[in-house]
């Protein structure tokens, strides 16, 4: 059981079975860790905003740092028009970051290592961005597929490539996060397994790898949350400020 590195990704039911309209909506360990991640964020933000201090305490400072970090990220990539979407991007970034980080704890479950979770987030972003684009620019939004300054002969080809790249956005967005998280955790598990199987004599090498990988994974956890959020900003920028 411990030798199977994919074991950690299994979803199992916690509590009673909930079935609505033939769909199994039972509370699982994945749901549990979603709730935990969200609670952590909300508790952190609660602590960070409960006292109104001119000179902030540590938690308030960190919360405000996250705020300014995401605000700067949005204004840098998508401009001032993206301001109404700030709460969404902020929630998205915090949620992905919290899920990734909590997944780094031993015996925990990484919510974002499941393709279905990341795919739903990415599909929601993709559909929302497309809808926003059509609302803002009408059918002119389709000009996103026709880049300016391209020779007429190449135009059909470029347009097809643009359409494919646009449609593959949700896939690349979701698979990037999911694959990073899954691969990292699998690797950690594999090296952990080596430590056990090689024992006291040879286990030190994979152990040191494990330690280094843990540091790397924490970096990746942050980086992937950042990438997820900033790509959302870039897609949003395409929809809000139509220019090519």
């Amino acid at each position: 059981m411990a030798s199977n590195p994919m074991q950690q990704f299994t979803v199992h039911k916690i509590g009673p079975e909930i079935k609505i309209g033939g769909l199994d909506l039972s509370f699982t360990n994945a749901s549990l860790f979603m709730v935990i991640s969200t609670s952590v964020i909300l508790f952190f933000l609660f602590l960070g905003s409960k006292e109104k201090k001119i000179i902030p305490n540590k938690i308030q400072l960190i919360a405000e740092m996250f705020y300014t970090f995401v605000a700067k990220m949005i204004s840098d990539t998508a401009g001032s028009k993206a301001k109404p979407f700030f709460p969404f991007i902020f929630s998205l970034f915090m949620f992905v970051l919290s899920c990734n980080m909590i997944g780094m704890l031993p015996y925990s479950f990484t919510v974002t290592s499941h393709i279905i979770v990341t795919l739903i987030l990415a599909l929601f972003i993709f559909i929302a961005v497309t809808v926003i684009g059509f609302i803002k620019h009408g059918f002119k939004y389709l000009s996103i597929f026709v880049p300016s300054g391209v020779p007429a002969i190449l135009l059909p080809l470029i347009t097809i490539i643009e359409i494919i790249s646009y449609l593959s956005r949700p896939v690349s967005l979701s698979v990037r996060l999911f694959a990073n998280m899954m691969a990292g955790h699998t690797m950690l598990k594999v090296f952990g397994g080596f430590v056990v199987s090689l024992g006291l004599l040879g286990g030190w090498l994979p152990l040191s790898f494990s330690v280094a990988l843990t540091g790397l994974e924490i970096l990746v956890a942050f980086l992937q949350a950042y990438v997820f959020a900033i790509l959302t900003c870039i897609y949003l920028n395409d929809a809000l400020n139509l220019h090519h």
Binding site: F9, L25, A30, T38, S49, A63, F88, V111, M182
Partner: protein, 191 residues
């Protein structure tokens, strides 16, 4: 790198055993997909609403308050600086005026003193002159007196000498005349 590794694993699993969670990836087992989707949407909606309705406005308020406070403080500091600059200018001008006044007073008092000294000097000089004149007069008088007294003394001496030498008393009037005559000739030498 890892992205492609993940993709590779996905593809391998997809090709071999798509829905077998035991053998491959539990992620591709659709048993709990609906559940995960449902809970994700539920939890994320709650997170989004509470963040956008409660926490972000609060943090934004805090940040805005701080920024306003800093701006206000900076403005106040500028105001105070201007005030202090104005006060400094005022102080400097007062100091300048005072310096001018001091030099003026100095000059005036010097003038007054000079005048005073001058007038007093004049008065004193006058007095001295008068004194000198008086003294000169006195001297002249004394000189005059001395001439007559010298003449009478010399007459006496002469008569006495003649008496002692000759034993005769000479005529007083002739002695007087002789002494007078000699003294008239020689007196200029001594006076």
């Amino acid at each position: 790198m890892r992205k492609y590794l993940g993709l590779l694993i996905t593809l391998i699993v997809m090709n071999t055993d798509l829905f077998a969670a035991e053998a491959g990836m539990p992620q591709l087992d659709p048993t709990y997909w609906a559940s995960q989707a449902f809970w994700l949407i539920l939890v994320f909606t709650i997170l989004y609403i509470s963040i956008s309705k409660f926490y972000l406005p609060k943090i934004k308020n805090n940040l805005d308050d701080r920024e306003n406070k800093i701006k206000e403080d900076l403005e106040n500091a500028n105001k105070f600086k201007e005030q202090s600059d104005a006060k400094l200018k005022e102080y400097e001008s007062i100091l300048e005026n005072a310096k001018k006044e001091v030099s003026k007073i100095h000059f005036e008092s010097k003038n007054i003193l000079d005048k005073d000294i001058q007038s007093k000097k004049k008065i004193i000089e006058k007095e001295i002159e008068e004194e000198i004149q008086k003294a000169q007069k006195e001297i002249a008088e004394i000189k005059k007196n001395s001439v007559t007294s010298i003449q009478s003394i010399s007459e006496n001496i002469a008569s006495n000498i003649i008496e002692k030498i000759s034993g005769d008393k000479l005529n007083e009037s002739s002695i007087k005349a002789t002494v007078n005559d000699i003294s008239k000739q020689k007196i200029g030498k001594y006076l």
